[in-house]
């Protein structure tokens, strides 16, 4: 099903989630060139294994399993997926 990073990450990009993701599906990372200009971090839904490790460490409660994304942020599900279609 995958997890999604939603609104609270915008402008924050803490990257605690990046450190714990076992399959490295959260991008951009600090050593990727696009990190500075990125609005937020994104989860690749095709690689995400639903372990929830990212949600456990997010300091701004930005991460949800897709079926639990609050209504006002449901558009972030596509935003996350579309980031990886570039």
């Amino acid at each position: 099903m995958a997890y999604t990073i939603a609104q609270p990450c915008v402008g924050v990009k803490d990257t605690a989630c990046v450190e714990v993701c076992p399959v490295e599906c959260i991008h951009p990372t600090k050593n990727e060139g696009t990190f500075a200009s990125a609005e937020q971090l994104y989860i690749d839904p095709n690689t995400c294994i639903d372990c929830g490790a990212c949600q456990a460490v997010c300091p701004v409660t930005a991460i949800y399993p897709n079926e639990q994304v609050p209504d006002q942020w449901k558009n972030f599900i596509d935003i996350n997926a579309n980031y990886f279609k570039k």
């Binding site: 490295e24 399993p65 639990q68």
Partner: protein, 592 residues
């Protein structure tokens, strides 16, 4: 054959005997459901819920390849049961697991690669021996685990086995726990050494004795809300002292509240364990609710506690005189511990990967009949334990183990690595934890041979973040992952350091480094070298890690974990697995 006259059923508890006809009825039902599945009369999902309630897991290899999980309440097996398990492993386990009984980190026995159509027959054989798989999986009370030394340990407060048995039997098939929000795991410890691993359990019972009105009363300190996985939590005190007259009622009330008040967990599976309920409403409110319900249960009757007498074996078996055998002496120093009953010993039979072959299990069953008390005990370290081995019979017992090839030293020492079944069979397993454990074990036959017996230093490996290998409580823990590199997938592990299980003072291991799987033996070897070269006298590994800090260790170890510029194919394959590694996960059945 009538239950009471079947000699295979001697030495079973009354609870185990009572379960037999109920389990046999389950088998008939399951046969019908398998038939319906074959005809398309029920969906895969409906059938899955049915078989999980009966301890049958779907493996990664589809279709219809199952793992069978046999509950061994508080770890105790009769020698007859061990013989039946050996036979089942020969007849029903498949692939490279033919003949293998696997001891899990929760004291169960598992068989792998069992064909679905063979499951009813496999279960029937288990029933004949008073064994059950009922509620070994699914959202139920799972196997009740306990200190495998309880009854004979020098440091025990009292023997918790009868209470673990009563707990296991009371909740098996109990309507209060047939459809919980999530699984519920209970453990008992007989001493503050906490061999039951209480802090990581949904509910844990630590033996205590309190003086009340001048009389010594047995009871438990009850802990709730522990767990590992992606949200590790340390269990907290529910009640400082619950007398044995009330302990079942208290556990019942706790599970009642979990069942009644956590529909949120039924809706959102990633937050379904009881630790999340406690976090949501707070421990004080949770306690208040439990005590309220406990009060309403005060007129409920609970089963009598069946006390077990630890019996001295009656044996006049001829035995060998101990010889100056350096291999034996080494084994004795690591695998043997004196019982509280003077002149007798506890012997740990170390099982690499938790596996024992049927021929070995048969030999061991015979040995404990001849020299022990006729029982074997599974341990959460994935070993088997024998007791009541007289001092003068130890050497003979050892020679028996040696003939069967189960005389490895280093039990519960550094070389005794815990690992989950991992990606070889589990749908959620990312990497081959068994492969890594085997690769690390080779180190202890070579470059690290002198470190194999190091005490207070445990390596635990999980194939994914769910922590069935209990990596959070290890001195050196690993959980599997992967990394995309140049169009390939490289298996990796997140390495953690510093786990310290110590009841309320428990500290789970912290994330330290991410390491490609094939680099791990090098990193572990270097880490141990750093420890030996820099430790203070008598300093334990966890103390050393705390003192020198992660920065110092990373400085030395991170360079070893870096992948070369040009990767060769060995990095794209996992330990023990031919071919290129791919992230290949199914829908986890422990999350079903």
């Amino acid at each position: 054959m009538a239950l009471e006259t079947d000699s295979k059923l001697k030495n079973l508890t009354s609870g185990a005997l009572l379960e037999i006809p109920k389990y046999q009825a389950d088998i008939l039902e399951l046969k019908k459901e398998i038939g319906k599945l074959g005809q398309g009369a029920i969906s895969e999902d409906d059938f899955k819920k049915y078989r999980l309630q009966r301890g049958i897991y779907g493996q990664k290899q589809k279709p219809n390849i199952q793992m069978v999980r046999v509950k061994i309440p508080w770890g105790r097996l009769t020698s007859d049961q061990a013989l039946v398990l050996a036979e089942i492993s020969d007849q029903f386990a498949g692939e490279d697991r033919v003949g293998i009984s696997h001891v899990t980190t929760r004291q169960d026995i598992q068989f792998h690669f069992v064909k679905l159509e063979k499951i009813p027959e496999c279960m029937s054989r288990l029933a004949e021996a008073g064994l059950t798989t009922r509620e070994a999986c699914a959202n139920t009370v799972r196997n009740v685990t306990a200190d495998p030394l309880s009854g004979v340990a020098q440091d025990e407060i009292f023997d918790v086995s009868p209470y673990a048995e009563a707990c296991a039997r009371f909740f098996l098939r109990n309507p209060v726990c047939q459809n919980l929000p999530r699984k519920f795991k209970i453990a008992f410890s007989a001493s503050v050494a906490d061999r039951g691993l209480i802090p990581m359990h949904d509910l844990g019972c630590l033996a205590e004795i309190k003086k009340i009105n001048g009389k010594e009363i047995r009871g438990f300190k009850i802990y709730v809300g522990g767990g590992l996985g992606s949200y590790p939590k340390v269990a907290r005190t529910l009640e400082d002292f619950t007398p044995i007259s009330d302990f079942l009622r208290t556990i019942h009330a706790t599970i009642f509240i979990f069942n009644r008040d956590w529909d949120y967990g039924r809706k959102y599976r990633n937050m379904a364990r009881i630790k999340f309920l406690i976090e949501k409403i707070g421990l004080d409110e949770f306690k208040k609710r439990v005590l309220e319900i406990r009060e309403t249960l005060k007129n409920n009757s609970y089963p009598e506690i069946e006390l077990f007498e630890e019996s001295q074996p009656q044996t006049s078996t001829p035995y060998l005189t101990e010889a100056p055998d350096s291999e034996y002496l080494r084994w004795k120093s690591t695998n043997v511990m004196g019982q509280k009953q003077k002149g007798y010993n506890i012997v740990t039979i170390r099982l690499p990967l938790g596996d024992i072959h049927s021929s070995q299990l048969r030999a061991l069953a015979e040995l404990v009949e001849k020299f022990g008390n006729g029982y074997l005990y599974t341990s959460v370290q994935q070993n088997l334990i024998a007791r009541w081995i007289k001092d003068e019979l130890l050497y003979t017992f050892y020679q028996g183990l040696k003939s069967a090839g189960i005389h490895l030293p280093s039990a519960e020492r550094l070389a005794d690595i815990t690992c989950c079944p991992g990606g070889d069979t589990c749908q959620l397993g990312i990497t081959s934890s068994r492969g890594l454990a085997t690769a690390l074990a080779k180190l202890f036959n070579n470059g690290l041979a002198q470190d194999a017996d190091l005490k207070d230093l445990k390596i635990k490996i999980s194939g994914c973040p769910n922590s069935c290998g209990q990596h959070h409580i290890a001195d050196i823990g690993f959980y599997g992952g992967s990394k995309a590199v140049g169009g390939h997938q490289v298996p990796t592990y997140t390495m953690l350091l510093g786990g310290n299980l110590n009841l309320e003072e428990t500290k789970y291991a912290s994330q330290f480094l991410r390491v490609p799987a094939k680099k791990i033996p090098l990193v572990v070897e270097k880490l141990l070298t750093l420890y030996k070269q820099n430790k203070k006298e008598q300093e334990k590994f966890k103390e050393f890690v705390s003192r020198v800090g992660f920065d110092f260790l990373r400085l030395n170890l991170e360079p070893l974990s870096v992948l070369p510029e040009t990767l060769d194919a060995q990095f794209y394959s996992d330990w023990g697995e031919p071919g290129e590694f791919k992230l290949n996960l199914g829908k986890g059945e422990c999350a079903a």
